[in-house]
């Protein structure tokens, strides 16, 4: 099968790659570009571990083809911190111990970033429904919700 040439923007950098027409964006990120922050928990759009933001829209990268990234703007967990300064969500996840094993964390951080971009002052219920596409098996979500609430407060003040 002939490869598809793709030019896209990932975390602000222009990136070019060749991929197979049936290859998912998740596979491209992980296997071709070495961006293993997005995880594959299911490959079927059910767990959110592979979450990325494409043109300000939250998507499961396991459900997007690598070829579809042409001309788009992609944000992954690797682009959340500014230099050595963590994003407030990253900082609050650490402070609240909103991760145990941490495999779901990149997906939650991206989903929460997207949520707060659209709704900077969410209620607990809005956070719970906003993050309902992401599975976490370790935490029971309590500390994740609190971390997002706390980050929202910090980000409003900023």
């Amino acid at each position: 099968m002939a490869g598809v040439a793709v030019s896209t923007t990932i975390n602000g950098d222009t990136i070019e790659y060749l991929c197979q027409p049936d290859e998912t964006l998740l596979d491209v990120l992980r296997d071709r570009l070495g961006l293993t922050g997005a995880k594959e928990g299911c490959g079927t759009g059910d767990c959110g571990a592979c979450s990325v933001i494409i043109d300000d829209r939250l998507v499961c990268s396991c459900l997007v083809l690598g070829a579809e990234a042409e001309g788009r703007r992609i944000e992954t967990v690797e682009g959340m911190a500014h230099g050595d300064k963590l994003h407030p969500l990253q900082q609050k996840f650490l402070e609240h111990a909103a991760l145990q094993c941490g495999i779901c964390t990149p997906g939650f951080l991206i989903a929460a970033k997207d949520l707060l971009a659209k709704n900077p002052d969410p209620t607990e219920e809005e956070i719970r429904f906003g993050l309902a596409g992401n599975l976490c098996r370790c935490t029971g979500y309590d500390k994740i919700v609190r971390a997002v609430q706390d980050a929202a407060t910090v980000m409003k003040g900023a």
């Binding site: 967990v77 111990a97 309902a132 599975l135 098996r137 935490t139 029971g140």
Partner: protein, 754 residues
């Protein structure tokens, strides 16, 4: 070494604080490397062909077409994993589970595997492998498998533990029995007796990270394995034995682990990946799909349990009895045995008897899931206890307090308890504001207790002090949820230094002595014990070096708050030497300073919890919402309280999923119908309320800091607590888990029709 593990009642400076974990930044920036995040140059992609049949004889496997496909570098079947288990039946089962030898025993059982240059080629190759199956009758239900006419899964199995050796093979591998006293007599003294039967369905641990490994076998007979596991030392032993290697030639590195909960304690894909790599002469990466995770790894037992409890009018239990049947998958296990041990462990009983039956079925090999076997037994017992309290007209908390085990009680499974937390958790629940909060229409409250043994085991730690005075701690228990933070706190406490001066890592199998799995809630308990011991050994050397620097006797040097202090009037002007100052001089005072420890951590204190739960049941749809949840559990000593709370909350959430939604659904054809997160639905954020926690600290007398394991007990009470709450809300006793909407509706309707 003369290590004294007894509880010393010291005042803590570091232990009990809540610093950020050392592996945290990597995990929020995407830099942490999990099982599938590792790659090697020249690596191939491995994939496994799995049986579509629940039970079938494998007549022949033809791999020639797959081998001929361009890009395929190795194809293996059971023939490439010869039997080297040397009569070790448990290892043989592991081998057979990794790759079916003569029969496929469940839908998803591995029958062949390929390694190819990319995933697409590997997938194509699987389609070219021809397996000639003779499909056999199958059985997936635990009660049906016990019937005489049930299809036999293994005709070499004769039930163990019967008075007379059976003459016919059976799907029941073992009968086990626990208890004391005379239940017959005990029931004779009862004013009230409640007898009920229960069922629970099979669930999966549901870790978000599928099994993944990279295997690299070199032509010189050495090998490396990178893998997500709860126990890389155990994986090394198992893989080495199955592949005929010396253990020391196989270096296993545990990656960050994306959840395990007991499910990453068994090898599945790893020996296969090693065999593929050996055959192909190249590294092989093997990652399970989610479908494979459900079909071929992990699940719990499905169970069927009968309980009978009798009490006098005054609320004293006079006798308790249970029969517990647990499915084990197609291989023997000890699941019913553990259920039978834990069933009545919360209570002080004069007459108690439990009987367990291990039952083979055509489902994946049962694996441990957080306090394995205990939640189902607790569901059955705690539901019956609630019913009995109702018959007696007693408050369920009071009834339990009256019968709770205490220090000195002989447990239902044998040993006599030391100081324990069941009474205190119940007393805490009794006065908890949650118990008094008003309930609305269609809402109900339930509570239940749970027990888990906890485990210690073989443990090894290295503590190395750098010349700059910073400390590296190398442990061998895999960090499944923050143990590097808690062990750093323990080392900081013992050395008297700041947490920030330490860095803890999980060492690979070639860098440290053997460690048992991180299971049985042993991670922090046992490795903290070894860390304390290692730190004390290092302190001994630090004192010697300080004595040398001062030119005084080591007997005059004590260690206080991170400093060597000269004691005695004659040394009045010597002042103190910090760890950093002593370390800086180590090159000239005898070389590197380190403390090591190898021990068997005995005396893991048993753990108890009591949970409270409020639910709202919609009588029209049968759907249930958990609206409030409280966990009260004894931690012995919470080393890092935030992560202890996390364990409590996580276990409760898993229990909620188990109680209300999660179940393996098999079709008549014996195939799993819901092998994905869409149809096997674990709780999501919007399903749950905040989960309140209360940590009690009843020191474990067998640990210097009083620590008990905390990881598992939290999943034991939820099934029962939620069942009691749903039963109270719906006005009908729920006896089948999960309490999915159709089951609740059916129960409500049956009650209406009377």
């Amino acid at each position: 070494m003369n290590f004294d593990p007894r509880f010393s009642g010291r005042k803590f400076a570091s232990v009990g604080t809540r610093p950020i974990r050392p592996d945290g930044v990597d995990k929020v920036t995407g830099r942490a490397r999990y099982g599938a995040d590792f790659n090697m140059a020249g690596q191939l992609v491995g994939r496994v062909l799995r049986s579509p049949h629940a039970h079938a004889k494998i007549r022949k496997i033809d791999t020639s077409k797959a081998e001929a496909l361009a890009g395929v570098k190795a194809v293996i079947t059971a023939a490439d994993l010869p039997d080297l288990t040397d009569g070790d039946a448990a290892m043989y089962d592991i081998l057979d589970n990794c790759m079916a030898r003569t029969k496929a025993l469940y839908d998803g059982h591995a029958v062949a595997a390929v390694a190819a240059i990319d995933a697409r080629t590997a997938r194509q190759a699987l389609k070219l492998i021809e397996v000639d199956y003779e499909v056999l009758p199958h059985v997936t239900d635990v009660d049906e498998a016990m019937q005489h006419h049930a299809p036999l899964i293994n005709d070499t199995v004769f039930t163990e533990g019967l008075e007379e050796k059976p003459v016919k093979p059976s799907n029941v591998t073992k009968r086990s029995q626990f208890g004391h006293g005379d239940v017959h007599q005990g029931f004779g003294h009862s004013d009230f007796i409640v007898e009920r039967s229960f069922k629970t369905e099979q669930t999966h641990q549901g870790y978000i990270e599928p099994h993944a490994c990279v295997a690299n076998v070199s032509t010189d007979g050495t090998a490396d394995l990178w893998v997500c596991t709860q126990g890389h030392f155990v994986y090394r032993q198992h893989c080495a034995q199955l592949l005929g290697m010396e253990a020391s030639k196989l270096r296993v590195t545990s990656s960050e682990i994306g959840g395990g909960f007991g499910g990453k304690t068994h090898v599945w894909a790893e020996p296969v990946a090693l065999a593929l790599s050996r055959k192909a002469g190249r590294p092989v990466k093997l990652v399970m799909t989610r479908d494979e995770v459900f079909r071929a790894s992990g699940p719990t037992s499905a169970t069927s349990i009968d309980v009978k409890i009798g009490a006098r009018k005054d609320g004293t239990i006079t006798a308790a009895e249970a029969t517990l049947r647990y499915s084990a998958g197609p291989y023997a296990g000890s699941w019913a045995e553990i259920g039978a041990m834990t069933a009545f462990a919360c209570y002080r009983l004069d007459n108690v008897k439990t009987v367990g039956f291990e039952v083979l079925v055509n489902r994946p090999k049962t694996a441990a899931y957080r306090a394995p076997s205990a939640p189902m037994a607790a569901f059955a017992v705690e539901s019956t206890v609630d019913e009995l309290a109702k018959e007696l007209g007693m408050d369920p908390v009071e009834f339990r307090i009256r019968n709770a085990a205490q220090e000195g009680t002989r447990s239902s499974y044998g040993p006599v308890y030391g100081p324990i937390g069941i009474g205190p958790t119940l007393e805490a629940v009794k006065v908890h504001p949650h118990m008094k909060a008003p309930l609305k229409k269609n809402q109900g409250r339930g509570m239940a207790c749970g027990f888990w043994f906890n485990f210690g085991g073989q443990t090894c730690v290295d503590l190395n002090i750098g010349m700059d005075g910073s400390v590296s701690l190398a442990v061998g228990t895999v960090d499944v949820g923050g143990s590097r933070a808690s062990l750093s706190l323990v080392a900081a406490e013992e050395l008297g230094i700041d947490y920030s001066q330490l860095k803890a890592i999980v060492a690979d199998t070639s860098s440290l002595g053997y460690n048992d799995m991180t299971d049985g809630s042993r991670g922090t308990f046992s490795s903290s014990m070894a860390t304390i011991s290692a730190a004390r050994n290092a302190i001994k050397i630090l004192r010697e070096r300080a004595a040398q620097m001062w030119d005084i006797s080591v007997d005059d040097v004590v260690w206080e708050q991170g400093h060597a202090v000269a004691k005695g009037e004659k040394h009045g002007n010597l002042g103190k030497l910090s760890l950093k100052e002593i370390a800086a001089k180590s090159g000239t005072t005898g070389g590197p300073i380190a403390g090591h420890s190898e021990l068997v951590a005995d005396g893991a204190g048993v753990s108890f919890a009591t949970h409270i739960c409020d639910v709202e049941v919609d009588p029209e749809t049968g759907s249930t919402r958990v609206i409030r949840y409280t966990v009260v559990q004894d931690a012995g000593k919470a080393v890092h309280p935030t992560y202890v709370e996390g364990q409590y909350q996580g276990g409760a959430a898993q229990g909620i999923g188990w109680a209300l939604n999660e179940e393996y659904i098999y079709g008549k054809d014996g195939r799993l119908q819901n092998a994905g997160f869409l149809d096997y639905r674990i709780p999501v954020c919007s399903d749950l309320p905040m989960i309140d926690t209360q940590i009690l600290e009843i020191p474990n007398p067998n640990h210097p800091y009083g620590v008990r394991g905390v990881g598992e007990t939290s999943i034991v009470p939820p099934l029962a607590a939620i069942a009691n709450a749903v039963s109270n809300a719906a006005g009908v006793r729920m006896t089948h888990i999960p309490m999915s909407p159709p089951r609740i509706l059916a129960a409500i309707e049956a009650e209406r029709e009377g």
